[in-house]
């Protein structure tokens, strides 16, 4: 039987986590839900447990890369055949999940990215964000050999093969662009699908001009670090 896992990395998301779980259940009732609580000190884990989903808790905060990797490890160990990664901040619409899985199946892909920029979906972001993304597109084209339009999107579906590969690879602070390079280098098929994201509810974007330069340099470094053997460092 086909087993599907929804991986929700969450850090301090007590105000959103229940909405996200409800959203996923409404649109993908057959899937198992895994919340990876990355050392939150608020009610994130308790609320998710209360809602009856599986919660794996990091003993301390380790960042998004470690959180999604824990999800892949769980999926690999319990033999899930496909997985969907979805942010815990209610930005990603679960109703698009089945469509990502459909593309995964129909086109025999290993990674299907829900992309904000592929067509005019109403999302523009700041000038810095757009410029940064354009830069990543070029670097991806050079390094990876495929044009990826929204390589920072964390709304994605993974095949069993991608799950196995990523469970054993060290992904840093920017797991999204990093995993694209890595999967591509392993001969995986990557496809982007346009997705209409929700606007952020509460909180402001942490990306300021100075930070975005810092962010861009680090993401570029992580794109360049893709050629690794499974297992990564140590």
């Amino acid at each position: 039987m086909k087993k599907t896992l929804i991986i929700i990395p969450a850090y301090q998301e007590e105000s959103n986590i229940l909405k996200v779980i409800e959203d996923v259940r409404a649109h993908m009732p057959a899937a198992d839900i895994l919340v990876v609580n990355d050392g939150s000190t608020d009610q994130t884990a308790a609320l998710a447990r209360g809602a009856g989903v599986k919660v794996i808790e990091h003993p301390f905060n380790m960042g998004i890369g470690a959180s999604v990797q824990t999800g892949f490890k769980y999926a690999a160990r319990y033999s899930y055949s496909e997985a969907l990664q979805l942010d815990g901040d209610y930005q990603h619409p679960a109703q698009e999940g089945p469509r990502l899985f459909q593309v995964l199946k129909d086109r025999q892909a290993d990674l299907v990215i829900g992309s904000r920029f592929i067509t005019d979906t109403g999302y523009h972001g700041s000038w810095f964000r757009r410029t940064g993304n354009r830069l990543f597109q070029w670097v991806n084209l050079l390094v990876v050999g495929q044009k990826i339009i929204d390589n920072t999107s964390g709304f994605r579906a993974y095949s069993r093969r991608a799950i196995t590969l990523l469970a054993e690879t060290y992904l840093g602070e920017f797991p999204e662009p990093e995993s694209i390079g890595y999967l591509k280098s392993r001969g995986c098929t990557i496809i982007e699908v346009p997705v209409q994201m929700r606007n952020r509810t509460g909180g402001t974007s942490s990306i300021t001009p100075i930070r975005s330069v810092y962010y861009m340099v680090r993401v570029l470094a992580s794109i360049l670090s893709f050629k690794r053997t499974p297992g990564g460092r140590p």
Binding site: K54, I56, E57, H58, P59, M62, Q69, K73, R233, P234
Partner: protein, 125 residues
């Protein structure tokens, strides 16, 4: 200038560094594998404090006019390499720490699941 005072003070400083390193190793505050580098550096200082013309000769050979400049250059390069080395080790530790923490998280889940299953089984019996 009082060269003797300079000689004596640099010698004492180098000696202090060497003794300190040995003490750290003896008390196991510093692992032996990391001590080698520091012992080497302390020994170089010790030699230079007595035979500082060596410094001038090396500097001259490198085309550096002022001896101490060569020393500073040498120290800066060494420090740079040590820092990169420390960064590499820190990265290793971080990666290892992550693997351990993830394993703990996954095992804790498994333990909770098993003890839950155990409880229901006991109740059934």
């Amino acid at each position: 200038m009082n060269f003797l005072l300079l000689k004596v003070s640099t010698f004492l400083l180098s000696l202090f560094l060497l003794i300190w390193i040995f003490t750290l190793v003896r008390r196991r505050r510093l692992l032996e594998e990391y001590s080698f580098l520091w012992i080497c550096i302390a020994c170089i200082f010790l030699v230079l404090s007595f035979f500082h013309p060596i410094m001038d000769q090396v500097a001259h050979a490198l085309g550096i006019e002022y001896g101490p400049s060569a020393l500073f250059l040498f120290l800066n390069v060494v420090t740079l390499f040590i820092l990169i080395h420390v960064s590499i080790q820190l990265s290793d530790y971080k990666a290892h720490k992550r693997i351990l923490a993830q394993e703990i998280a996954l095992l804790r889940d498994k333990v909770e699941e098993l003890s839950e299953a155990n409880k229901t089984q006991e109740k059934a019996e």
